[in-house]
């Protein structure tokens, strides 16, 4: 038996296929999200990596993420809160607080000892504190988003960057640049700004250890360091953090398949 979880986010599409023992048979991530070719490409890729599996071989399919209703073949749609919680708890059963920063939202989730969601908070409408915010900043700084962590590790100081509004923060970054402040320190400030938003949400959940990060932004070690510094606690990064939502969706699909 195989099941599939699809996470169609705002900025990327992720797919996970599980077998009968809940092993990940294959997964894929494509860096474009809902309303694009992303979901179709992610599906194509995930099957390519298998020994000839096809979508028809999937006993159940669950979709999550902002584009969850756009995929007709899904048997069920489940919110990303429940999916991230399920995926992360499966990978890290000691997780009690989840911080997930995706392309367009940031969320903090509190789990109980059985992995059930007992509280969750999401960011407000502004892009500040999300992956989009980092995209905007990388563009202003003329560097690749994937290089940001590296720059951050060389910072000698963390400069102040607003966390209230992306536009404010952008103009602050521009003025730091024109004052010849090293990019490294500005980037550390940008990461601290993202961290402060996410930590604000995490504190509201009650903040119980272990704290685990998921979502695409968790791949940025600079943000993880900033969060850990702000919370004054260690933060575990889920393995393959970008696919935790899709994994959770696949696990829900697995439960559905076993029900019938």
């Amino acid at each position: 038996m195989y099941v599939l979880g699809l996470d169609v986010g705002s900025a990327s599409s992720k797919v996970v296929i599980l077998d009968d023992d809940k092993n990940i048979v294959s997964f894929s991530t494509v860096q474009v999200g809902t309303g694009s070719t992303g979901p179709a490409r992610a599906l194509e890729e995930v099957f390519k990596k298998t020994n000839g599996l096809k979508i028809e071989d999937m006993t159940k399919i669950v979709a999550t993420g902002y584009g969850r209703y756009a995929f007709e073949k899904a048997d069920k749609q489940i919110s990303e809160i429940s999916c991230h919680a399920k995926g992360i708890f499966h990978l890290v059963p000691t997780a009690r607080t989840i911080i997930d920063i995706g392309g367009q939202d940031a969320k903090a989730i509190r789990l109980d000892s059985r992995g059930a969601v007992s509280q969750f908070f999401m960011n407000d409408k502004c892009a500040a504190g999300t992956g989009r915010f980092l995209d905007v900043m990388a563009r202003v700084l003329e560097i690749e988003i994937t290089d940001m962590a590296e720059y951050d590790s060389r910072a000698s100081e963390v400069v102040n960057v607003s966390s209230t509004c992306t536009v404010f923060a952008e103009s602050e970054v521009i003025s730091h640049l024109s004052n010849n402040i090293p990019k490294e320190n500005i980037i550390a400030g940008i990461h601290a700004s993202v961290a402060s938003k996410a930590c604000g949400l995490a504190y509201r959940t009650g903040l119980e250890d272990d704290i685990v990060m998921g979502g695409g932004v968790a791949q940025n070690a600079g943000v993880v360091r900033a969060i850990s510094r702000e919370l004054r606690r260690p933060v575990i990064v889920a393995p393959n953090p970008q696919i935790t939502g899709a994994l959770g969706a696949a696990l829900f699909a697995y439960d559905e398949a076993k029900k019938h």
Partner: protein, 425 residues
């Protein structure tokens, strides 16, 4: 035989709402007095003296619900009102300017024509205004702007914030004095002595209307509930604008009778689809009323709990100005956090809700800022899960459907899981 004989509650609601605007417009053309009032200000004084009452908050909500808000909001912003001001106030102030322009030029401005096309009822310009800051202090400056712009009398009923129970005597005395001053302002404007006999009749009517409202809204407690909170939002317009009139009593008694028949037949507001029951804290998102309702309905979530209906349950002994003062100042947004928590937890218990949805309303600072704290205390106290979403009661730019849906779905999943666990146990 009354003019509404044979109508159902929805028809009565539409009839009386239309009539309240039509009567005020007719009165205005005849040179009779019209008053604009905040939603929970005492109407009793003006109604006694035959002044026609209109409610800018109701009107702004109608502008929002009929999808006419954006243009009017932009007009307000062009005049210099920032987006941080309550959207009801922005809509009303821009609307007032449009009416003034029409009066001055004899030509209907385009934006006003658009609202006419959308069938947003017309409000005539007021001759007097009354506000009571028992719901917020934004009203004071908003109404002051109207009074200054139109050079008309302004009745203010200033309600001290209630921290102590019972309500201190000095608060009641202070309000009674203001009531007396309001009566004088009305006497000055109308040139007639205040009719104390009629005042008693108006108070009696107000109490009968409130009793009928309580009776209808009380039906939400029945499991499954014959009343959806979104109907509650719709009917609310009438308890706002006709609290001191027979219209409210008539409509809400009919509504209560209809709901009783449904309840006796075991019918719920979703035709058998009520899976869970939730409370909604905050004002509706008028431009997205249907979306916010459907997202809940699709998940079988019946919104039955709200502190809102209680806001107009203003009870007092007829003839007792002190009790009337207490009634208007113990309005729940004018009371301390502890009371707020108690009021919501009573709603949760009475209506059997297992989840709460908080509207973090960009317009309404008082409600929204308190909600964050209230939510946490209530979660601690009751264990009932909650979610919050960002929105605005009439500014459609401050609401995102996708964000709302995700939060509602996640809340539903948590509620369903808790329900399943309870059933297992």
């Amino acid at each position: 035989m009354t003019e509404t004989e044979g109508m159902n509650a929805k028809q009565k609601l539409a009839y009386y709402l239309d009539k309240s605007y039509a009567d005020a417009n007719a009165a205005h053309s005849k040179g009779e007095l019209v008053c604009w009032s905040s939603s929970i200000a005492p109407a009793e004084f003006c109604v006694t003296m035959g002044i026609h009452m209109l409610y800018p908050e109701n009107h702004a909500a109608a502008v929002g619900a009929k999808h006419g808000a954006i243009e009017i909001l932009e007009l307000a912003e062009r005049k210099g009102y920032t987006m941080d001001n309550c959207s009801y106030s922005r809509i009303n102030l821009a609307y007032m300017d449009l009416l003034v322009e029409e009066k001055k030029t004899g030509k209907t401005p385009e934006a006003l024509q658009k609202l006419d096309e959308l069938k947003v009822p017309r409000m005539p310009l007021p001759d007097i205004i009354i506000t009571c800051n028992n719901i917020c202090n934004t009203l004071l400056k908003w109404y002051e702007n109207i009074a200054v712009s139109l050079n008309i009398p302004y009745i203010i009923i200033d309600t001290p914030y209630v921290h102590d129970w019972p309500i201190p005597q000095h608060t009641i005395d202070y309000m009674k004095e203001q009531f007396k001053y309001a009566i004088k302002q009305i006497e000055d404007l109308t040139g007639k002595p205040f009719d104390y006999e009629k005042f008693v009749k108006v108070q009696e009517q107000t109490q009968r209307s409130v009793a009928a409202w309580d009776r209808a809204m009380g039906m939400a407690a029945i499991v499954p509930s014959p009343l959806s909170g979104f109907d509650m939002f719709n009917f609310m317009a009438l308890i706002v604008c006709a609290r001191s009139q027979f219209a409210a009593e008539d409509t809400f008694n009919t509504l209560a009778d209809e709901l009783q028949v449904k309840a006796d037949a075991g019918q719920d507001a979703f035709k058998g689809g009520e899976r869970t029951r939730i409370a909604w804290e905050g004002i509706a998102v008028w431009p997205y009323l249907s979306h916010t309702y459907k997202a809940l309905k699709n998940l079988g979530m019946n919104m039955v709990g709200s502190t809102y209906p209680g806001a107009w349950s203003i009870h007092y002994e007829v003839g007792d100005l002190g009790q009337m003062a207490a009634g208007y100042c113990k309005m729940y947004s004018n009371t301390c956090l502890d009371n707020k928590v108690n009021v919501i937890s009573d709603v949760l218990i009475n209506t059997n809700c297992t989840g709460i949805l908080y509207h973090l309303n960009r317009s309404c600072k008082l409600m929204s800022f308190l909600n964050v704290e209230t939510a946490e205390i209530l979660k601690e106290k009751t264990g009932i899960p909650y979610a919050s979403f960002d929105g605005d009661q009439t500014d459609p730019r401050n609401f995102s459907e996708a964000q709302y849906d995700t939060r509602v779905e996640a809340l539903s999943e948590v509620m369903e899981q808790m329900k399943a666990e309870k059933a297992k146990a």
